[in-house]
Every structure is written in structure tokens, then in C-alpha cells.
């Protein structure tokens, strides 16, 4: 058969953020010498480039780095290896046969891979997705976009700011804009608890006396061309507006920090099965999606709060993809399905191919805060492990490790119990 592509690679990594960098490096270190990394921007590092605050790499490097510093360490590692990198190369389409179409400054290309690792990151939920009522004026944007304007382009998007949603990006932008001379009047959070890390509440809000309104939301957005005013109000436990609790703020900017969603148009288009909760692809214990040889990692798989977790996961994914290429597929004879029960929002992976040795690492999030509880793992209804936890927060992803020796075919469930 005539080949209709330019080149065949063992592994192609799509996306050069922290996930793609770690996956490319570990694929190479696992014995694959024919690795290509495609990145649509003119630089590597992804979202880390705009995260100029510190707090990265505590686990990996035992020191607190800023986003760009963390990225640079991995870019330097990548450059020590013979890994091919194409910048300004946007992947347009992939196929089930692992053909990849991309365009770069030289034009259109079609290549083929034995395995693809998708590391395309996430996107922010926008105003449309949360349906805030009111005028369609300018001055309403996502916190991550404002972060990019300020930290990459040096442009402060507003002077009087309110923030909807207590996610970490919103909290970090509250501090960042305050430092640059803007007045941040408050942060409203729909839930009775914050979605951001405690440390960010302390060092981004409390340090600058910025009030956090829990169980509050933005009820109206008012402005002709530019935003002029917002009205917030309290919500009850069913999330309905509480009458006569309105508060008005005169602001020119409303930042939305209401959640991140894995960004996977390439995978969705070819019918990869998606996880209803994480909104990323369903993967098995080798991080393989429902299409053999197509892998996913980083924020494109599920949203991580810590870059260290992204790095660890992606390193593992690089190893799995390398193994897939070197061994022409996986042994999928013994299967365990994994189900979240009481208190647990989601668990990854949802399917485990059992091996005789080693351990398997799960990631999960709880769906509300807990204190002094146990996590119980049950295999086909029988308890196999109980772990005490002083606290569990939805904002913090939990890593949970089980020994393969404890597992056999069937169903594994995880639940939170009050003992």
C-alpha cells in the first residue's frame, strides 16, 4: 500500500505544557528514540508561562518555584534529549489509525504515529456556561484570560474588580491585580466553602483584606458598553436567591473563576469515550483511552490542582505509551472496574488491567468537605483497605495507592465513611 503521510513516529505528543513535556521526556527515557512533540504556541511550557506566582514544584524539587521556572527545568531536560519539537504547530485532526494532521509556519502536514499522547490542557468555563443574567457589556472575562493579559502582555484589564468563584486562579488574580494597583472589592462563591486552597485564601485575600462572600452569587450585571455595576446576593442551601440580601458593587471588571474543563476537541471528534464527571476521556490503568494506542494526560485528562501531580502522571503515561509501542499493545485479560460511592465525586482510572506485581495509583476528588473520616476500599463488596483522613476537601485531589496483590477481577469501590 502506498503511504500517504510524510513520516512515521513511534510516539507523537500533542501539547507542550507540563504534561506534554514530562510525557515526551519519559517516553524517550523508556527506550523510544523517535518522539515528536507538537505545540501550537511559539513557546513550550503551556499555562505555566502565565502562572508567574510561586507554589510550583514543592513535591518534585522540594522548593517553591514560579510557573516559568518550573517549566524551564523541564524544557532544559527535554533539550538534553534527541526529541523532535515543532512549535507553532497546531494539530487539526487525528484519526483512529493514529494519523495526525497539523499545520505550522511551513504549511500543512500529515504524519502517522504508533502511539499518540494527548496533552492539550484545559479551558475555562465562561459566562455562557454558568448563565449569569444581565447586560452583555465588556469587562466580563475569565480569570485565566485576565492573567494572560497581565502576566504575558503586561496589560491590566481593569481598575475596580469583582471576582465570581473562589477557584485558585481567581484568588491568585485577586492578589495579582491588587499588587498592580487595582482595587479588588470582593470574591463571591456560590458554595458554603471555598473551591480554592486555604493557603490562597490567606495569602491572596486575607493579606489584602479582600472579603470572601460564601454562599453568594452574582445576580445581575449592569453596564451599557463597559461594565458599571454588579449585584450579588446570598443563596440558600438549594442555591436559590435569598430575598433582600442584595449588595451592589461599582466595578469595571468582573472576573470569572468558575471552573476548568479538559479541552479535547481532537478526541471528541473521533468518538473517544468521555467521563461524565471529569469531562476528560475515560482511561484505563495504562492511561489509554477507549481507542488503543491513544493516551491522555495532564489537565486534558482531568483538572489537576498541582503541577507536580501533572508531572508524575504524565511521566507514567510516557512509560505506558512506550511499553505499548515496544510490546505491540497491552495484556488486557484481567479487568477490574472502579466505581465511586458515597462522598466521592470521581476516581481515575475507571478500569484497571490487573498485573501480578506493583501498585496502582488512583486519583479521586470528594464531592463535599469531610473531617475525620475513613476511606474504605471494597473489592466485590468486601473491605480490603481502610485509611484514616483528618480532612478531605473537594479542592484537593487525593492520591490513593493500592497494591496489585490486593486486587482481583471484578469491581472495586471507594467510599468515604464517618466510622
Amino acid at each position: 500500500m502506498e503511504k500517504n503521510y510524510e513520516a512515521l513516529y513511534d510516539i507523537v505528543v500533542i501539547g507542550g505544557g507540563s504534561a506534554g513535556l514530562a510525557a515526551a521526556i519519559s517516553s524517550y527515557d523508556s527506550g523510544i528514540k523517535n518522539v515528536l512533540l507538537l505545540e501550537k504556541e511559539a513557546y513550550l511550557g503551556g499555562i505555566l508561562n502565565q502562572c508567574v506566582h510561586n507554589g510550583f514544584g514543592l513535591h518534585t524539587f522540594k522548593e517553591e518555584l514560579t510557573g516559568p521556572e518550573y517549566a524551564e527545568r523541564f524544557i532544559d531536560e527535554l533539550k538534553k534529549r534527541d526529541i523532535e519539537v515543532r512549535l507553532e504547530a497546531t494539530v487539526l485532526e487525528i484519526t483512529k489509525d493514529k494519523e495526525i494532521e497539523y499545520s505550522d509556519t511551513l504549511g500543512y502536514h500529515k504524519i502517522k504515529a504508533k502511539a499518540i499522547i494527548c496533552a492539550c490542557g484545559c479551558s475555562e468555563r465562561t459566562r455562557g456556561q454558568i448563565r449569569t443574567p444581565g447586560d452583555r457589556c465588556s469587562g466580563v472575562m475569565t480569570a485565566g484570560l485576565a492573567q494572560r493579559y497581565l502576566n504575558v502582555e503586561g496589560y491590566l484589564v481593569g481598575k475596580k474588580v469583582f471576582i465570581l468563584g473562589s477557584g485558585d486562579i481567581g484568588l491568585i488574580m485577586a492578589r495579582r491585580m491588587t499588587l498592580e494597583g487595582a482595587k479588588v472589592l470582593g470574591v463571591a462563591e456560590l458554595m458554603p466553602y471555598s473551591n480554592g486552597l486555604n493557603r490562597n485564601i490567606v495569602q491572596c485575600l486575607n493579606d489584602f483584606n479582600i472579603p470572601l462572600y460564601l454562599s453568594h452569587t452574582v445576580k445581575r450585571i449592569i453596564g451599557k458598553n463597559r461594565l458599571e455595576k454588579i449585584v450579588i446576593c446570598e443563596v440558600d442551601d438549594k442555591l436559590n436567591f435569598v430575598p433582600r440580601t442584595d449588595k451592589e458593587f461599582e466595578v469595571d471588571t468582573l472576573l470569572l473563576s468558575v471552573g476548568l474543563i479538559p479541552y479535547n476537541p481532537l478526541l471528541e471528534k473521533i468518538g473517544v469515550a468521555m467521563h461524565p464527571k471529569t469531562r476528560g476521556p475515560l482511561v484505563d490503568s495504562d492511561y489509554q483511552t477507549s481507542i488503543p494506542g491513544i493516551f491522555a494526560c495532564g489537565n486534558g485528562l482531568h483538572v489537576h490542582d498541582l503541577v507536580d501531580f501533572v508531572t508524575n502522571e504524565s511521566k507514567k503515561v510516557g512509560e505506558c505509551a512506550a511499553k505499548y509501542v515496544l510490546e505491540n499493545g497491552f495484556d488486557a485479560s484481567k479487568v477490574l472496574t472502579v466505581t465511586p460511592l458515597n462522598g466521592i465525586g470521581y476516581i481515575l482510572p475507571g478500569k484497571v488491567y490487573l498485573k501480578d506485581e506493583g501498585t496502582i495509583k488512583f486519583n479521586f476528588r470528594v464531592n463535599k468537605p469531610f473531617k475525620d473520616v475513613s476511606i474504605i476500599a471494597k473489592l466485590n463488596g468486601e473491605e480490603i483497605k481502610r485509611t484514616k483522613k483528618p480532612y478531605l476537601l473537594p479542592a484537593e485531589m487525593v492520591e490513593y495507592i493500592l497494591d496489585m496483590k490486593l486486587l482481583k477481577e471484578g469491581e472495586l469501590t471507594l467510599e468515604v465513611s464517618n466510622d
Partner: protein, 113 residues
Amino acid sequence: MTKLICIVCPKGCHLEVDDNLNVTGNSCKRGEVYGKNEVTNPTRTITSTVILKNSCYTRLPVKTSLPVPKSMIFDVMAEINKIEVSAPVSCGDILLKNVLSTGSDIVACKSIK
């Protein structure tokens, strides 16, 4: 007795510091150091960006090499905003030494060729 949340790592332990500077509630040594400092002389690392010339990028990310007193955050920001750098620059380069006599330098957080 002061109640604090440790900000040294994402775990965010709930600390209590008594009048004799005894710290409880920390899960590690760094939390103890933080608790003591926070009631005697609270400090913060500042991160920001400065003007970058001679490059396709317009801003260079920077940070204070050491935490500076919390009360001086805005003064240090004013100094950071006066800095202009020309590429090339290497990650870790000192752009301003001993800012406002705090003992902390303003350093580059990214290499630009």
C-alpha cells in the same frame, strides 16, 4: 494564642501559636518556622513581571529571592515596576540587588535568548 493557616505548602495546616511562640497543629517543621515568623515578623515572597526589551516577549517574570516583610509589599512592588531589562537574560539573574535593604534581590524567573 493566634490561629493561623500555614501557607508554606498546599496542605494548609491549621496552626495555633501561643504567647511563648509554641506552635501546634503543624504537620512538619516548616510549619513551625512559619507559625513563629507569622506572629513576630510576617514575610511574603513577591512575584511579578517587569518590562522586557529586545525580545518578541514584552514582559519578564520576576520574584524576590527571599520573602520580604509583609508591610513592605507595596513598596517593593513600586521598585519592581521601575525595572527594565533587555534580552538576553538568564533565569536567576539578579536584576536589582538588596531591594530597599530587605536583603532580598529581584531575580529573573525565565531565560530569554
